[in-house]
Each structure stands twice: as structure tokens, then as C-alpha cells.
Symmetry: C2
Subunit: 328 residues, 2 copies
């Protein structure tokens, strides 16, 4: 089979590519061909099958049609301008996150207009489609009320995914990812960055800043769990999904205090002492609008499974990013 | 003030235009100028102020910018391809209902990029943004799960309306209209047509076909109430709306049996006897996916008011379309 990954150079895209190559199969079928696309060329992985690498902007004329002309069996659509940038640059956010997604969906519809073609499309959505006010635990029937342009663009992508799937143009699954922790790499300026930072930095002896209260509660998944969601979405039986094509993924609800507890159990009191409390009213306010927990009933019924606990999330970071051991 | 009505030649557009001219004022300000637009030129109404009439397609390049260059204070966006046609012609539905709406919103944003400009935008949405399964009475926080391309396009319009309003590009209010009864004019092929037909035809001595069971329950408003919703949306204080810019309007929930009861009270048993029961499994199935009733708490709190009863809806038709008297 032929698998297309759009957004392959990002953190999740690279981990997904590794997993695809590691498994070599998807839903019982051998992966014969892999096409990797991003605005910057992804690193060339070590893959035995046919490999195509492309640096291209999905929103540009003809790019989506060119990607789809190869008739991939599975399309992973991970490409997006992130929340902060989509908020800072209104036009760029809509161009990539909305026009780019529309261009992809239209290319698939038009490719199938001649000779039958109905690929599985896995669309990465986000809990950013939900904005306050909402209940402490959000159910599967809760209204989409995004508080950002990014969340709006993801919510629109979900609606298009459902309509194109209903019309039989493709077989879509939308995956509403929890906030990913522990994000590898350097600290960034995302408002959510501290959720990873207060673990990642202390685990390697660095100081980290905590801008919110210990009582803040949020919804998390490890990168490994997120890749698992995407792989499951690519292979699951979609016959029972009906028109509700996007699902709240099973995350782990945890307070900042519970994060710190997991850090303490993994790396001791010295690590915890590296967290410096420095309240930031701007971040406090942004975070207040974010979901705290979900009851992901449908996703569980459809066989998605998440991290076992916040301790497991920390352990995954140590295994996958630090070679299984903490620096002395 | 300058009022722009897009979709002015349709049933609601014409009634709205009449109401605007009849009132002569909106929110306490005199209407100095009226611009009426539709794909076919609307009939020229008798209006003392400045009047501009245009036949134009909102989705065509430059049309939206031309309409907005006149800097209307209020924009009523009623233009849409209806449900059945948007389902039959996928491309046309998306072009008019989505691209046209986006073009309008973008034209307003770009007009304001030079010199400050922030009009009120009244967007007509529909209860078609909701699809089964849902509870018997739908609350304000219920998820949008449209079952048609039309409903999808309206739901996307709502999301854009909210985001553009949040960013301060305009001050938008989305009005989720109930099914309008009694629709004046000839019977049409819309799946919902019988809800009006079983009243309109018997009221003037004609036979009408009822394709569903008497127990079917649905959510209704008269054309007069619908115009009232639009006028209120144009003038209401929006400061408490937050990001939730689209509201379920207060309709009247009624079963087909209750409709028939209202007909009987208005026009007697002879009128009722003109309803011919002819079950149609296709229409039965479509109607099963439609909302039955709402709890329009927010709309009521924001001052919207609907019809008093189904009897009142029938009376409005007799007054507004039959000159107040039933034909002998």
C-alpha cells in the first residue's frame, strides 16, 4: 500500500514516519510506498520500499492534485500552522489550515471523479475546537466553540471531513489530539509550553518556569500515544462512525500538581526543586479557556487507547528521548 | 444609515425589505440608503431614500468587495443555495454557501484594514446545522452535526462568523432559523414542503399531500417571526454574546397532528378533509433526522421572541398572504 504523510517534518510527523517504517505494515498490508511532504523537506528516513520526499505548500495551486495523483491508500493530514502563529498571522493561518485542507479534500474528490478512488483520510484535529465555557468533563456531544482562529480552522476541517466522507469522496477520521507532553526539543513560546517544560527541563537538570497555579487541570497524551491514535485511525473499521467522524481522544486529565508528583516519582525532589514559580496573568487567562477533561466514550468504543497514567507519560519521555536513563 | 440585504429577492429577503421600508428606521436610526442584491435583480420597492439594486453572484471575484465598498452599517446575509440543491449540486452549494460567505467576510475585513470599519453582520443560519442523533429538546451547547452539505456550509459560516467577530473585523450575529411555515407561494419539492402545504393548500380549498405520520414533531416559525429575528439581530446589544455568535431561535414545536388541529380551528373540518395521507418512506426517513424541539434559552435571554402558538402562525398566513380572510 501507499501511505502519504502531509506534515512529515513536524514532531508528530517524524514519529509517525518512524512508526510506519518500524511496523512495515498497516492494517495487515505491507507498506510498499511512502510519500513524505512538508513545507521544508523532511529528513530522509531509512526505508526499504519506494520513498518520495517533497518540500511543498499544500495551499499552493496544483500541489494537492500532484500529491493525490499517486493515489495513496492512506492520507495522514498533519500539516498546520500552530495556534500561536495562526493567531498572529490571520491570513497565513486561514491559507494553510483552511484553504490547504480544502485543497486536499477537493483534490481527492476530483481524483475520484474519473476512476473510483476512496482513500482513508486521517485528519489531526485538536481539543482547541473547544472553548470555555464548558463543563468540567466534556462529553462527545458538546458544541464546538473554538476560542482561536486555529481552533476555528480545525473545527471547519472536521465539518468538511464529515461531509466529504458522507458523500463517499473519502473515508475520513478526525483525531482530536490532547495537548502533547512531554514535547521533546527546546522550550518554545507556545502558551501551553510550560506543561512540557516543567518536566522536560528538570529531568535533565535544567530550571523551568511555571506560570500558572498548581491546581490548573488539563488533558494530555504522550507523543507515543498520539502516534498510536493516528495509526488506529488509519486502520479502524469506520462503518459505525456515521456522520460523526471526529473523536475526542482518550487522554490523561492531570493537574499541574499531579504532573509535579509524577516528576518527583521519576526523578526525585531535586528535579522538582528546579521548577520556579513565576505567575503570568496572561498565560493564566489563556489556560482558563482550555478544556480540563473529557469523557471520550466514543473513541474508547472504537478501540482507541491512550496513556495509562501521567507517570507512564513521563516514563515514555525518558525511554523515547533520553535513552531510558536520566542524566546523572 | 446604510443597510445592505444580500439575497433580497428570496421570500425572506422580500419580507425583510418590506419591513425595513415600513419601519423606515433601524435601532433608532433612519435608513438613508438601501442596497438590495440577489442573483436575479429583486423587484424595485417603493422607498424614499437612496436605493441601489444589483443582480450579482456573491461568489464571483470582486462582487463582495464592490458591495462592501459602500460601507453599509448593517449587512443582512440571506443568500444561499437551498438544502436540496446544495445536495444535488455539490460544487454549486460550496461555491455559493461557503465561498460566497467567505468572500463577503473577507471583503469586510479588507475594507476595514485601511480605515476602521466594523458593521453589524446578520447571518441566516438554520436548524439544519443539527442532525440526529440528538435529544428530544436540543440545548444551546449541543454539537453541530449537520446531515447535509447545506447544513455543513451553514455550520462553517457560523464558525467563520464567530472568529471574524472575535477578531473585531465585524460584529456578527447568526440566526438559526426554524423551518418557516406557512411558506407562501406554490408547492415546491423540498422535503419539508408538506409542513406548509398541508396548511396553505387546504386554506384555499386545494388538496394537499401528507407524506409522514401525524406524530412527526418539528420546530417552526412564521415568516413574520423570522423577519422579527433578523431585525432584532441587527439592532441588539451584542456585548454579552462572547464568542457564541449563533443562536437557536425561539420557534414553536408542533406535531403534524397539532398543525392539523390549528388548521381545523382556523378553517374547519372541510379544510382538514383536503389533506390526503400518502406515506412516503423517503421523506419519512429524511424527516427522522431533523430536530424536533429546542430550548432556546440564550436567544430568549438576548430578547428574541417568536410566535405565540401554532394557531398564531396560521393566523399570520391568513393576515399576510390572504388579506385577512379565507376564500369562501
Amino acid at each position: 500500500m501507499h501511505v502519504l504523510v502531509i506534515g512529515a517534518a513536524g514532531m508528530l510527523g517524524r514519529k509517525l514516519t518512524s512508526a510506519l517504517i518500524g511496523e512495515a505494515r498497516l492494517g495487515g498490508r505491507k507498506i510498499e510506498k511512502l510519500t513524505l511532504v512538508d513545507v521544508v523537506a523532511p529528513d530522509r528516513p531509512d526505508f526499504g520500499g519506494a520513498l518520495e520526499m517533497l518540500a511543498a505548500d499544500l495551499a499552493e495551486d496544483g500541489v494537492a492534485a500532484r500529491l493525490i495523483a499517486g493515489r495513496p491508500d492512506i492520507v495522514f493530514h498533519l500539516a498546520a500552522i500552530v495556534s500561536g502563529e495562526a493567531e498572529a498571522d490571520f491570513e497565513k493561518g486561514y491559507r494553510i489550515n483552511l484553504d490547504g485542507t480544502q485543497a486536499l479534500f477537493e483534490a481527492i474528490r476530483l481524483e475520484g471523479a474519473g476512476k473510483a478512488y476512496c482513500p482513508r483520510v486521517v485528519f489531526t484535529s485538536s481539543i482547541a475546537v473547544f472553548g470555555a465555557p464548558f463543563p468540567d468533563v466534556i462529553g462527545d456531544d458538546h458544541a464546538l466553540t473554538p476560542l482561536t482562529s486555529y481552533g476555528t480552522q480545525k473545527a471547519i476541517g472536521e465539518l468538511l471531513l464529515a461531509d466529504y466522507s458522507r458523500r463517499g469522496f473519502f473515508d475520513g477520521v478526525g483525531v482530536r489530539l490532547p495537548t502533547i507532553v512531554v514535547r521533546p526539543g527546546k522550550p518554545n513560546k507556545a502558551a501551553s509550553g510550560f506543561f512540557s517544560g516543567i518536566l522536560r527541563e528538570p529531568l535533565t537538570g535544567q530550571e523551568a518556569i511555571l506560570p500558572v497555579a498548581d491546581t490548573v487541570r488539563h488533558w494530555f497524551a504522550s507523543p507515543r500515544a498520539a502516534v498510536g491514535f493516528l495509526l488506529h485511525a488509519a486502520t479502524m473499521d469506520t462503518s459505525g462512525l456515521g456522520i460523526r467522524r471526529s473523536l475526542n481522544m482518550p487522554g490523561v486529565a492531570a493537574t499541574v500538581a499531579e504532573e509535579i508528583g509524577a516528576l518527583q516519582r521519576a526523578a526525585g525532589e531535586r528535579a522538582v526543586s528546579l521548577i520556579r514559580r513565576q505567575p503570568d496573568p496572561v498565560i493564566e487567562k489563556i489556560v482558563q479557556g482550555w478544556p480540563r477533561a473529557f469523557d471520550p466514550e466514543r473513541a474508547l468504543a472504537f478501540g482507541f487507547s491512550g496513556d495509562a497514567s501521567f507517570d507512564a507519560i513521563v516514563q515514555i519521555y525518558i525511554e523515547d528521548e533520553l535513552g531510558g536513563v536520566l542524566p546523572a
